[in-house]
């Protein structure tokens, strides 16, 4: 979920931006020049994949896939997500420049956490790795939801209720993302297992 411009307090915005800069710097450092086309092309595919709307009862949710992005890209997921959000702000006016940092943290921090948590699991034989894949999609959204809540609460007491509802709204997404990540993982494992070896860790 995006946080719109104008909601967060200056201190929280600055904190988000600071963290995003650190993460991006780390990601860029781990990525040599030759990796740029690979990371960029993969993140273009992620961008397009996130345009897919899946129906959940009467509403449609669009995919996020930040957990999977973390698995495949490691730290490079941070600049990739930053760019994707920047493009969304430019092309669709979703989000904006001042919340770019906060929104990047919301999506990218879970990606990196998932990379460290679940990467080892995916190398295991099937039940373990499949559970790992589901957990990866699930956890990434859970963490994103919690981060949204944290940023909102950091802005002021007024947002406590909003934050609670935001976390609630993430619950169906968590399950959908878990299932979708699981199926994508099974597909990749069968079709291109090399991809799961991680391109840039």
């Amino acid at each position: 979920m995006h946080i719109s411009e104008g909601v967060l307090s200056p201190a929280v915005l600055a904190g988000g931006a600071g963290l995003a800069v650190l993460g991006t710097a780390m990601g860029l450092k781990k990525m040599d020049y030759e990796a740029i086309p690979r990371v960029a092309i993969l993140s273009a595919a992620f961008f397009v994949a996130s345009l897919i709307h899946v129906p959940v009862g009467p509403v449609g949710l669009h995919l996020v896939l930040n957990g999977l992005m973390g698995l495949l890209l490691g730290w490079a997921a941070v600049p990739a997500i930053l760019i994707a959000l920047f493009l969304q702000a430019l092309l669709f006016q979703f989000g904006g420049l001042t919340v770019l940092g906060a929104n990047t943290v919301i999506m990218a921090l879970p990606a990196v956490v998932c990379f460290y948590l679940f990467r080892p699991l995916l190398r295991r034989p099937n039940p373990a790795s499949a559970i790992g894949a589901f957990a990866c999609g699930f956890t990434a959204i859970l963490l994103s939801g919690l981060l949204v809540a944290a940023f909102l609460m950091g802005t002021g007491q007024a947002f406590v209720k909003v934050a609670q509802l935001a976390v609630l709204a993430h619950i169906p997404v968590m399950f959908i993302e878990g299932v979708i990540t699981l199926f994508i993982f099974l597909f990749l494992k069968k079709v291109r297992p090399e991809m799961l070896e991680g391109i840039y860790a």
């Binding site: 086309p37 690979r38 595919a45 600049p79 990739a80 904006g96 420049l97 007024a158 509802l165 199926f183």
Partner: protein, 256 residues
């Protein structure tokens, strides 16, 4: 049709012809100032400024409003919660809930802020093609790798979008209808996974093509921008107006 378009980037208005570097700098300062503003006066000033830019860019009110409606979903969500949970003097009752005067004012402030910033962004940043923006950011000394990452990502966005459209047509003609069930989720997951696998292999081929053309780890940029008088004027006027906004923000309480 294609959702990935830049509807605002084409046009011959003054705003379209300005140097993108100046516009990016002004947009960034404007966004920050509006984001930290706490008084209605400042924000109204900002909104006026953004609307003037919008008019200068001749973006079309209808198109701009359409966009605004789309991106206000989070704000709408806030309107359903904040007025009722914000402590203060009760103003209206809706069923069991009471909305406070302070809550409504606060939510209104946020709404104004959010839309002012978006209008500014639309007028200043979305009026330059993404490619030009990437090049402008490069010449503004943003990290080299980040700018190239942006340009590459944008370049292949369109390739994958077309692939996505063709694959979803293929699903459609085979009778696929999205529903809330595992078959649907699995099919969409396969579609996404297919895009990823193809992107992985495409990345290989693109890199090979780069190597064949002598790539050795350095990107060169040929784009040069020419800073003209109108750019200086635009920058000066914008900075002055922003300074005025800042003054209103600081002195806001006394002015009212």
């Amino acid at each position: 049709m294609s959702p990935i378009q830049e509807p605002f980037s084409e046009g011959g208005s003054l705003l379209h012809r300005l140097d993108p570097r100046g516009k990016v700098v002004v947009a960034a300062l404007f966004s920050v100032l509006m984001a930290v503003a706490t008084s209605f006066v400042t924000l109204l000033g900002g909104l006026a400024l953004a609307l003037i830019w919008l008019a200068l860019g001749r973006l079309g009110l209808k198109k701009a409003l359409g966009r605004l409606l789309l991106v206000n979903s989070f704000i709408v969500f806030l309107w359903f919660v904040l007025p009722f949970t914000y402590p203060g003097e009760s103003l209206v009752k809706v069923g069991p809930l009471t909305a406070s005067r302070e809550g409504i004012a606060f939510t209104g402030l946020i709404t104004l802020k959010s839309n002012t910033i978006i209008i500014g962004l639309m007028a200043l940043v979305a009026t330059a093609p993404v490619v030009t923006l990437g090049q402008a950011m490069h010449s503004l000394r943003l990290p080299d790798k980040l700018c190239h990452l942006l340009l590459f990502t944008y370049r292949y966005l369109h390739v994958f979008e077309l692939e996505y459209q063709r694959l979803s047509q293929a699903m459609k003609i085979r009778g696929f209808q999205p529903r809330t069930n595992i078959h649907t989720y699995r099919s969409y997951a396969y579609l996404a996974a297919m895009l990823l696998v193809r992107s992985y292999d495409r990345a290989d081929r693109v890199f090979q093509a780069m190597v064949c053309r002598g790539f050795h780890g350095v990107f060169y940029s040929l784009k040069t921008f020419s800073w003209q008088r109108r750019d200086s004027v635009f920058l000066a006027v914008s900075l002055l107006t922003l300074a005025l906004c800042l003054y209103m923000e600081i002195e806001g309480a006394n002015l009212l």
